[in-house]
Symmetry: D2
């Protein structure tokens, strides 16, 4: 069974995956301009993918989750900063920061 | 923006994905016997994948979600029945039934 | 073991997944304009996802691949038409048509 | 556009993903015994997932592929060793070794 900390981290990763993908596919595509600037948009898509993978590896239950969580924390942190720079994506910033923190805690355990 | 019904369906699909994958990787592999019988185990893995995909397509926001939800409902329903037949996987049965219902509602809308 | 027809269909689905994702992330984001029009871009992302899933379900080896292949054929066909309408994405059109055909053959078997 | 080295690495990652998933779902489940020993089976599933993700991140085209490729190389290498220890999975050993090498080259560039 997953520990309650890991179970919470899976929740947060899936929630961040969901927010990043939906924000990119709805908000960013509708707004256009710097929201579809390649560098920003690719970062959002990479963030969605690594959150999805990070949750998946925790659910499989191998010790490699420490590495995927570390990478997830890194990418979420960059994504939060880039969403903050562009603005208008407060929910995505919040989710990415929360996910970065939760993943860092998994690495530290 | 996702409607509140679709948003709830995404929640349920991700929750069912999570339960199926974790049950297969933890409970089924640890129990062995009929829990790792190829037909059952493949069904659990297919169910995890279609739930993940069904959520993904709703988050992207194209009308194809009606088809992926229909297929998700079908597979979840089969998976619930097979988990019930084998026994000891009540949480998986509950999640799969709830997901089948939520997906069927998306198809009907 | 996968039949040689199914093995070929997995190849084609993964190749189409790859082309759709890369074309969206490279060509479409760099070109901008109608290439990042929400409806077109979401269709490319949905096509990438269903091709990935269609291959995954064939590799798992359950009979549900007939349904995921049918949906994959449908979405690939729409994606080919939309890429043709916008123009400049000949490789994506070719791959999507080939994938639609290969998936339809899996359904017919 | 992807460099020819990166394009080749995507090919190899998708090929390794495919071999690991199919070997687990067909060979391992049919053979049973140590092939479905939790530690081995979870490693095969983690390897399939990280190969899929590693290809995905290269296709998106962000510099994070260096990190996902590094992790992919590590997991593929472990998976190759574990498949060799159990035996009867020569194709999986070959694919995992090739993928580990190709990913290490991406990291070194």
């Amino acid at each position: 069974m997953l520990s309650s900390e890991m179970s919470r981290c899976v929740d947060i990763c899936l929630s961040c995956y969901r927010t990043c993908l939906q924000t990119a596919m709805d908000h960013c595509l509708e707004m256009g301009g710097e929201h579809v600037e390649p560098k920003h948009f690719r970062l959002m898509m990479t963030c969605a993918e690594i959150c999805r993978t990070s949750a998946h590896v925790m659910l499989i239950g191998t010790p490699h989750h420490k590495h995927t969580c570390a990478e997830c924390a890194e990418i979420c942190s960059e994504c939060a900063n880039d969403c903050e720079r562009i603005g208008g994506m407060a929910e995505c910033v919040t989710q990415c920061r929360a996910c970065a923190n939760a993943c860092r805690e998994m690495v530290a355990q």
